[in-house]
Amino acid sequence: MLNYRLRILYLLFICFSLAIILKLFYWQIILGDKLSAQAKSQYSVEQELPASRGKIISSDGFSLVTNGEAYLLYAIIPKIKETPQMISRSIKKIIEDVDEDELKNRLSNQELIWMPLAKKISRQQKEELEKLKIEGLGFEKFSERIYPEASMSANLLGFVGKDESGKNKGYFGLEGFYDRSLIGKPGLLSGEKDATGLPILVGDRKEENEIPGRDLELYLDRRIQFLVETKLKGAIEQFQAKAATAIVMDPKTGGILAMASYPNFNPSTYTIWDPDSYTNQAVSLTFEPGSIFKPIIMAAAIEEKAIKKEDRCDDCNGPKVVGEYTIRTWDEKYHPNTTMTEILEHSDNVGMVYVVNKLGLNKTLDYLDKFGFGKETGIDLEGEANVPVRDKKNWYEIDVDTVSFGQGIAVTPIQMVQAISVIANGGNLVEPHVVSKIYTEDKVVEIKPKIKNKVISPATARIVTEMMISAAENGGKWKRPEGFKIAGKTGTAQIPLEGYYDKTKTIVSFIGFAPAENPRFVMLVTLKEPNVTWGGMTAAPLWFDIAGQLFFYLGISPRF
């Protein structure tokens, strides 16, 4: 009997032991990883320390782009006690741009627990909503880009959106070009916590500090930018233009003092704007420059001694026939025996054909390359466009003739400014640049002016400058600031449409620099399809208006 009982007890022990072993096997081996992770989540904490994105500062120390806080308003549906109608009405009173019906629908959705209601709400709106003490509503804080000057210099700055993985990413302009510098590197904090969530300092603790994004200081002068944008906007309204650009650059350093482009947008609310408005026309627009190109060909011909300033054109007494084409002057007036200076003053197409024929195709192509056409300028902005210059074998006689007055070649506004700067600074091709300094955690990296190559001699630059001064003084009846020597040239380029030029649609422009004897700025303004089709009546007055204000702001005195 005893033996029987012992056997049962023995069997029971084996069964219990087996059950314990099986359960332990289940916990340790099958659920081991899961339970270990659950336990770890109770006592350990791992937190990403976000890196703040770098600021963008104008040359006067003002933050054109900085960081601020915004909130996401969300609802935890099971915790809501009031009716969706009441809640959505209360929210609408505080956040005006939300759709009340859409809110009601979201709050009535019982299939979800967590529901976002409004993105990017301000701190004031959050505080007002908190005062209402609506149960079930919550806020999630996040950092957002702040643009205090709203749409000012928007096309130059770009904006911050999201990439495919939902992380912040800069697009267009400086935000796009310098994204990797601005973004910084997030840090990581890992350690152990107690039951109340407080850190245990004696446990395993590791802290990797975040590296904040680098701040960028620009050459851009906020007051000049504001002035240029205000004047440009006025001109667009006055002449009903479809688009416009303006660039102001220091010809010695290549520093961009102002760059405006219309249509523009507000980077804070970029999603509601037409994506076409994101483009910075100053670097992305390709257009036939028209007569503002004439000083370039003139400079090349003088440098190569193909012509002299005193030369007279012996083939300028009428239209020039080239094969099936006839080249005429813009006003159908012809000037026999005209001087080289007068060719620029009258913006004489036939005269320019005389000059380019003296220069020849090979040298013309050489100088197009030396002046930086057909390749990107290297400006530190995302989205720079470029149309390569055609191969030599694709140039016909008519192409060489028309390029002398800026037709049959596509350039960008920034390429034109870079090329005219060569004449302004005594012959150097300087790379345009927007950022002057990059601030890292422990040092300041200064971006030094970059001279790419010597294009023409200082003597040639002086001669062409004098010719451009005459062109600005005698080329039209515009009102100029008195007492200042200004070198400039107007341009009116017809827009090519499916193989022909539409005479009613033009891009008008004026490019110049001042004071001519020691230039402080090179400026280009362009207006697309204005209701007055001539540059001398639209772009030139705008240019002189801005220049007059710049002289005063930069402390440049007139010489009487």
Binding site: T66, G68, F552
Partner: protein, 91 residues
Amino acid sequence: MKKKFLIIILITIFSLGAVKIILASLFSSNGVNLSLLNKEIDQIQEQNQRLEEEVSQKSALTNLLPKAYELGFQEKGKVVYLTTQTPVALR
């Protein structure tokens, strides 16, 4: 000799254990302080950012211009430049 060595080892083990307990109890209460200090840093950084944002918004030219007009400021009129030409009356 062996006994003495064993005693020294035991004393060392016990004293190190005691030190660890004391330090652990000291640091465990410091966790609260650390948490409070971190919270304070966050608050100050937040306030700093808010002030910076406010200064930027208020000193933006797009906001200053209408305010200047409101206060009665006007666009400058024609600027007259003085020349250094010799006056007629001077000998």
